[in-house]
């Protein structure tokens, strides 16, 4: 690689980090300016500085709520991962099961979760309902991606395993699952964000019932009390949580695939 190309690349990487920060700072400055000049009251639109103050002042309450939501999200995500991969493997082993169950997986996926959540809250205790919501939203991408991965295996390698008389279990464990891993991890990356959305939707739906203490519940509750700064503070924490989840899963993806899969290769190493 020539020195010029490497300089260009470094500048490009710097721009990719710097530009969004500049845009963010600019946006916040305009927001702050408009609120102050216009004298907009906090219950209509709080200034960014007030949101940060609220975040600091209410941190005990908000961090507790964040943990509640994160735990639900994490549980929903784990169930979705296990359920999605498990169902896909089951479908792959038996056409019969696949034909019987796949349409219902699709139905679960296409029915808007906002509409399902209130029903779940009638039949299930609140924590269970929130968990089920997170699971319903998150499991489908894992199922769909894993199914695709298990079907996209190298035909010749498949023949090789047959040639050496590999058992079904060995073929699955040593061949199909590793071959499908990039697809599975892709599905998990989507599922992480969706599990958070599912948990939030269910908490909001449960909001008026009022037994919860998650972040989305805080948003609903603050809304009823016209505590708009706290709504923004909770929202900020939620989107930070979503970003962290996404990058954590991307990191896992990279660590698992960097030695062998095209998607995780360092482009400068080519």
């Amino acid at each position: 690689m020539s020195a010029r190309a490497s300089t260009n690349e470094r500048r490009d990487r710097m721009l990719r980090t710097a530009l969004p920060i500049v845009v963010l700072a600019l946006g916040l400055a305009i927001w702050e300016f408009v609120v102050r000049i216009g004298g907009i009251p906090p219950y209509v639109l709080p200034a960014p500085s007030l949101i940060l103050q609220t975040l600091a002042a209410d941190r005990a309450l908000l961090v507790h709520s964040l943990l509640v939501t994160l735990v639900t999200t994490f549980e929903g995500f784990l169930l979705a991962a296990a359920g999605g991969v498990g169902l896909a493997v089951l479908f792959n082993q038996s056409r019969f099961v696949e034909y019987s169950l796949y349409p219902f997986a699709v139905i679960l996926q296409v029915t808007p979760i906002v509409a399902v959540a209130p029903l779940l809250l009638i039949y299930l205790p609140q924590h269970a309902a929130v968990l089920v919501c997170a699971w319903i939203v998150a499991f489908f991408p894992v199922l769909a991606n894993t199914t695709l991965g298990l079907h996209s295996v190298d035909r010749n390698l498949s023949d090789l395993f047959a040639l050496y008389g590999a058992s079904r279990a060995a073929t699955l464990w040593r061949f199909k699952l590793p071959a499908a891993l990039p697809y599975i991890l892709g599905g998990l990356r989507i599922a992480g964000g969706l599990a958070l959305i599912g948990a939030v939707v269910a908490e909001i739906a449960a909001g008026s019932a009022g037994a919860g203490s998650g972040l989305a519940y805080r948003i609903a509750e603050s809304g009823y009390r016209l505590n708009i700064p706290r709504m923004f503070a909770a929202l900020l924490l939620l989107s930070l949580a979503g970003i962290v989840i996404f990058y954590l899963l991307s990191l896992i993806n990279y660590l698992a695939l960097r030695r062998w899969h095209e998607s995780a290769l360092d482009p400068s190493a080519r």
Partner: protein
């Protein structure tokens, strides 16, 4: 070493009147007869679509013939950790997520070979293909020729009686192919295994084989045979000898005849 001749011994494997029709109606093979004798290096040479690869898959048991039978010599058995067949595909067909060592170890794992000796056997065969230093590398870190060496090592690690190779060097550059041709001949002589090799290169078939079987297409069948009764080891001198040129001409003429006799495309 003498090339095996017709009366040397009973065939290791014999194809008797093999026919293969695919569900879409294509007749890939019809009335294919072929004897493969122990220690032979047989090449199936023919135009694309003549069913060479299909014949190889049928010998391997990866595909069922629609007619005829594959008969194995009674001595050909498979014990624990052994496989009587090794198969090398046109592509290296390695597991990208596994190291060179683990790729070569795979057949032994699947066959349930005792772990104590398995690692030794993998080391030995990696040494034989000249990749001992690359045991911890991943396939994507290797060149095309090296990947094919790993593929050959994997096929040899079970010490198969019959090695089936489906145009293994077709995708490689000529320099790499010549080197692998020579290395393959060395291994074949050292291991005294039997090889059935599929190619569409007249020059490669004559250089490698003790016998070239020329196939005609639509449906695939044996058209003629050319025995390459030249002593091994063969080397660069053979490649440039008038004798080699003469055999290539004979094989080439036979191939032209087979193609003229082939059915309508």
């Amino acid at each position: 070493m003498q090339p095996a001749t017709a009366n040397a011994s009973d065939p290791l494997v014999a194809l008797r009147g093999i026919g293969k029709a695919f569900p879409n109606g294509t007749r890939a093979l019809a009335g294919l007869d072929l004897d493969v004798r122990p220690g032979e290096f047989v090449t199936l040479l023919g135009p694309s679509g003549c069913g060479k690869s299909t014949a190889l898959r049928i010998i391997a048991g990866l595909s069922e013939p629609s007619a005829g039978a594959v008969e194995w010599a009674r001595t050909a058995g498979a014990t624990q950790g052994e496989s009587r067949i090794g198969f090398v595909f046109q592509e290296p067909t390695l597991m990208p997520w596994a190291s060179v060592f683990d790729n070569v170890m795979l057949p032994l794992k699947l066959k349930g070979a005792p772990a104590a000796t398995a690692a030794e056997r993998v080391e030995a065969v990696l040494g034989r293909v000249g990749l001992a230093a690359f045991r911890h590398s991943y396939p994507r870190e290797l060149s095309g020729g090296m990947r094919m060496r790993v593929s050959i090592a994997r096929a040899l690690v079970t010490e198969p009686q019959l090695l089936l190779m489906d145009e293994p060097f077709a995708a490689l550059d000529e320099i790499t192919r010549f080197k692998l041709n020579d290395d393959l001949l060395h291994m074949w002589q050292a291991l005294r295994t039997t090889i059935v090799f599929v190619t569409h290169s007249v020059f490669e078939s004559v250089y490698l084989s003790s016998r070239v079987v020329i196939m005609a297409a639509r449906p695939g069948r044996v058209s003629s045979e050319v025995a390459i009764d030249v002593l091994y080891p063969r080397d660069r001198n053979f490649r440039t000898s008038p004798e080699y040129a003469a055999f290539c001409r004979r094989a080439s003429d036979a191939l032209a005849q087979a193609m003229a006799a082939g059915g309508e495309p």
